[in-house]
């Protein structure tokens, strides 16, 4: 490890630093980058510590969404009353990350920035139709979270850009969501496969639905075809079973050190089915009952 260290104290300072810097990595919680530097997987010339930029922190609500600072830790998300009420599926996912120690410093922005295909919070954010706000010195834009992942460990963010806000759609009445994870043990486990589901029902009909997976592709994915098929269907067991089968057919997972493609395919169906069932049950409860 050998790098120059920058710790800007404000957003303005941060954007100025980034404007002039090349070959840098961000330091948020550090749970990923510090280990990668130690193992010499990456050797950045510069480290930009985001922790003193207050604008990147905090969780607040607006009428139809939550604003979550990318520096919010998994623990903050897990324990936030706002998240527990309006984005509980994200709280559930955050609670499944690593260990208490990792959740205490690991951040949701870091989870996105690492672009790990197995990140736990990302599928939850995807089904909540999250938009990320990206800034650079003279530019600000918003993108759907789905559109920023390029491949394992890679995003479409360019040098000079930083994620400054997550806009996470609130769960409203008639809507429900669920997060399901398979790991190799009950804690300190990277997902073998994970899945988040969100849906809106009107009486017995599925009005809208979103399904996202982690660890089945080079990036976290949405199952747009399955979602399309589900729209307008009856919210009932047979439909969920069919959707589960379609989900299984739609994904093309691979073998790796944690599991096999075959196993991921098989359990994907089970996860989607479980996710839809739980989400439906919650949609029929009142908001905030979680």
């Amino acid at each position: 490890m050998n790098f120059e260290y920058y710790n800007p104290k404000s957003m303005e300072e941060l954007l100025n630093v980034l404007d002039n810097l090349r070959n840098y990595y961000f330091l948020a919680g550090g749970t990923d980058i510090v280990v990668k530097m130690k193992d010499k997987i990456v050797s950045p010339q510069n480290i930009v510590d985001l922790n003193d930029v207050q604008e990147l922190k905090g969780i607040s609500s607006e009428e139809d969404h939550l604003n979550i600072g990318p520096l919010a830790t998994h623990t903050e998300i897990e324990e936030s009353d706002l998240v527990k009420k309006y984005a509980y599926v994200l709280a559930e996912a955050a609670a499944q990350v690593g260990s208490p120690q990792i959740r205490n410093i690991g951040t949701v922005g870091g989870n996105i920035g690492n672009a790990s295909p197995a990140a736990d919070t990302v599928p939850a954010l995807l089904v909540l139709d999250t938009t990320v706000q990206i800034e650079s010195k003279n530019h600000k834009e918003e993108k759907n979270l789905l559109d920023i992942f390029k491949g394992p460990g890679k995003t479409f963010l360019t040098e000079g850009q930083v994620i400054t806000k997550l806009k996470v759609r609130s769960i409203k009445e008639g809507e429900g969501a669920a997060f399901v994870k398979m790991g190799k043990r009950k804690a300190l486990a990277i997902s073998v496969i994970n899945c988040a589901v969100w849906l809106r029902v009107d009486k017995d009909e599925i009005v809208e639905v979103r399904i996202a997976f982690g660890s089945v592709a080079p990036t976290p994915i949405r199952l747009l075809e399955v979602e399309k098929w589900l729209k307008g269907q009856k919210a009932e067991d047979d439909v969920f079973k069919q959707a589960a089968q379609m989900a299984q057919d739609a994904i093309k997972p691979i073998d790796d050190i944690r599991s096999t493609a075959e196993y991921r395919s098989t359990t994907a169906a089970s996860l989607v089915y479980q996710g839809l069932k739980t989400a439906l049950q919650r949609a029929r409860e009142e908001v905030g009952n979680e």
Binding site: M182, K184, R185, A187, L188, I257, E262, Y263, T267, S270
Partner: protein, 328 residues
Amino acid sequence: MKKRGVGLANMWYGIGNTGLPNPASAYIELLDDGTVIVLTGCADIGQGSTTTLAQIAAEEMGVDIEDVRVVSADTGITPDAGATSASRQTYISGNAVKMAAKEAKTILVETAARMLEVDEDSLILEDRKIVVKNDKDKFVKIKECLGKCRAEGKLTLGHGWFNPDVTALNPEDGQGKPYATYAFATQVAEVEVNTETGEVKVLKIFAAHDVGKAINPINVEGQIEGGCMIGVGFALMEQVKVDKGNIKTPNLATYLIPTAMDTPEIYPIIVEDPEVTGPFGAKGVGEPALIPTAAAIVNAIYDAVGVRITDLPVTPEKLLKEIKKERN
């Protein structure tokens, strides 16, 4: 769907090295103030041998546990006690310490007998005193007796060594007496199998272990509980993956051991069938603790879902495949 099952498994385990001499030795010195130093080569690696040996010395010398200090595992100071392996230290070093203590107290007993004007045979050591067995009001304090010993120019030292009674195994047919004594155990596991994902959750383990005599029951329980968890790992998740001689699981993120959240409720049960050649009847428990666990879990999985896995560990991948096969 989640299905539960119960499985049972037994084990036996010979204490000490197999068919080989494996002696241990110890020194003891009883100091002027009645405190004791035990010198032993026995390496305590967390299992608690230092404490166990101190208890054996204290019991034999009739002193309090606080009076005993154990100096261990320093080849510049302590005598050879062999390896901390084969669940052998309580039995073998325990005997060595007991014998050393016995030797150290002979001078004391001889002196006390003269002081109390009784037979040596009528004396026992307890509560820092040398007491007449059948007349407990009649005693001399160890410290006083030591004063007398010193006045007579006598030191109170002891050395003991013990080698278990074994014979080599015949190279042709393996006949012989490989161990002086064996530990026995039975474990019952209750598991819950998720038939959709192949995940196994171990809910409970009942672990009954014949340790001869538990010198320190809470430490024996600790050995049993810790052993069970190594057994759970062996049964369900642990696997060093090797590809052409290269380890693909070189860290604790890829080589997984159970966390606190993976632990079942463990019910340690101590069974004491005394071993006459053991110190106060003790045998050993370190390794036996884990031996039947995986077998009990595998048998419980069969009880739950009718699938028998013959290749450890029982990963969800493997089990789910077999469950599906069984269904078709």
